[in-house]
Symmetry: C2
Subunit: 359 residues, 2 copies
């Protein structure tokens, strides 16, 4: 069955209604729906409404608090630690990013580490909140452990993404949003559905041997850090994932390393919990805290045009600038609708029935 | 001929004397020598005294100013832009890092972007200055373009390294220092000397085809971003290198992308110079601007021990924590001496003769 196309507004209203049904305030439901559906818009289907049921299940087992009292528990002029009170990361993250932006307005930059949160959707959605303020936005999060560090069999880190968004002038903004693994889990899921082999360097089996079986994770295997193996720089991907963990959880007091609570509600929380919930980290840097904004933007335009005009390798039409693919998908989907696969559509219908709302 | 072993102090004094001979003040010569020889100590031989002749040549062609007036040209409570006045990056970087540390003392964090500088040695040396202050240190720099972004034939970025250093308690600090390429240029140079093939994903030829020829760079080829190719995540390595360029040069007003001046003095500066010199970026985050330092350090110890105790893949003895290999080399070399190869030893002898000092 071909994917059905849904207008953004319909998915947004539906998602908002579901979040209201579990008790979220109007404002929180709107924020959460905007965070979530932004992933579908930008083509990151694995992180969009496909996960709505997952969030609801976390609420059902009382691991998500629908009415959190999100608050700053420690701060200095340029920093804060936010306690998410077990709220949806989709709501906690924009709150924390706003704190970072407000601090940047005051003292040039703002840096916020978050404890006691849950999965926040895609990092880009939060980092990009800085763009309207002529700031560079940074967002990262830890996640439950699927990734084996270089030389390790044990899964010690999540896919721990990093996003940096920087404004340009006439050109669209630079938005780099990357999992610190060779391939994001969502890409592996696509291969699983097709039963296609995974490329070298994506995964290893339960004994730490390289594998091309896309189902390896279910058999005790692990995702590999960006680089794949030592010879190809996996120690760098591992280090980047570790940095995300330190900024997100060690600075905030959240859980870290293999002790981060998993997203699927049926997977038990690790018995050892050195911190609270999962951790995020946000930054905002005011451009004019460094140099005049128009000078920066002119140079960003020049930078971007330089990359766009670079000569391409055989068989490729153009060199992309980080953010190009997602923006192009977004333009297309806002015009034509968001394609939703059969499985996800059925999932959403079930949610609609359970909560007695229309879909 | 086997490598000769030199005590740290001898290399330090010699390097300091050379820098004094070109006109550096006693203080600058000491700082520069400490920055440079720290690379040899930590086993990053490509960035240590092997480059001393290179720095001197830059001074000879008037691209390095031995008596720079390094100064802050713009600032807010948490940010600054530093003008390096064409000084040695080895001196400019510690100055800028100190500015970041002092701002962190005042408002929690400090962030400094630097223009008009030169090659700064290894990033770790500067980031680690934060550790003594119970701060996380961050250092990055752009560099002349050797790296082709995903799908590009043109070399648009340098190897643009990122370093993050975080203090622990009983455990030694976490220090991740990584070029955003699959392999640092220094590793390729080792293969060139042995005439050994380079692994897949390290380099491409002048037409953008994958290559294993370690001499490819001299023939118009390029280093590849961490990941190697699109299927293995090279767009992520490319994005990371781009982020370093934006923070280091677009925020400061230094040159960026393919317009960064090259390190070898015989390579002409690109005719287009949109900024000044090369750019760096430094950050310092006070731990207790987020949470009590002892809590953080206890959790860092727990984190590090968790990784050390992870089960290893077949054939490997242990899982390393970022910073382990360099620290172990440093302990060994401070005790046994620093091995200097024949070519570099001859180079240093020539410098000694030229400046009429003992070596």
């Amino acid at each position: 069955m071909p994917d059905q196309l849904f207008p953004y507004q319909k998915l947004f209203e539906f998602t908002k209604a579901i979040f209201q049904k579990i008790g979220c305030s109007n404002e929180h439901a709107e924020t959460a729906a905007r965070s979530l559906v932004s992933a579908d818009c930008r083509g990151i289907d694995s992180h969009g409404v496909a996960r709505l049921t997952g969030y609801i299940r976390l609420w059902e087992v009382k691991r998500v608090n629908a009415t959190p009292e999100i608050k700053i528990i420690h701060e200095t002029p340029s920093t804060a630690v936010v306690d998410g009170d077990s709220g949806l990361g989709l709501v906690v993250a924009p709150y924390a990013m706003r704190v970072a932006i407000n601090k940047a307005k005051q003292v040039g930059t703002g840096w916020v580490s978050v404890q006691n949160s849950n999965h926040f959707g895609i990092a880009a959605q939060h980092a990009m909140l800085a763009l309207d303020h002529d700031m560079i936005g940074i967002a990262m999060t830890n996640a439950s452990s699927l990734v084996a560090p270089t030389f390790s069999i044990d899964k010690m880190l999540g896919t721990n993404p990093i996003c940096v968004a920087a404004p340009a002038g006439k050109e669209p903004p630079f938005v780099a949003d990357l999992a610190t693994t060779t391939a994001a889990n969502g890409k592996l899921e696509i291969l699983q559905r097709k039963n296609s082999p995974a490329p070298n360097g994506w995964i290893q089996d339960k004994d730490g041997n390289p594998s091309n079986d896309p189902h390896e994770l279910k058999k005790g295997g692990a995702l590999l850090p960006l680089g794949g193996d030592r010879e190809h720089g996996s120690h760098k991907g591992y280090a980047l994932g570790a940095i995300v963990d330190i900024f997100s959880a060690l600075l905030s007091g959240a859980n870290y390393a293999p002790w981060v609570p998993p997203f699927p509600a049926y997977v038990p929380i690790p018995s050892q919990q050195p911190g609270k919930g999962i951790g995020h980290f946000f930054g905002a840097m005011r451009i004019d805290a460094f140099r005049p904004t128009d000078e920066f933007k002119n140079h960003m335009d020049h930078w971007i045009q330089g990359f766009r005009n670079a000569k391409t390798i055989p068989g490729e039409e153009r060199v992309l600038v980080p953010g190009d693919p997602e923006r192009e998908v977004e333009i297309e989907r806002m015009r034509m609708g968001i394609p939703i696969g059969d499985v996800v559509a059925k999932d959403l219908k079930k949610l609609a029935e359970k909560f007695e709302i229309l879909f």
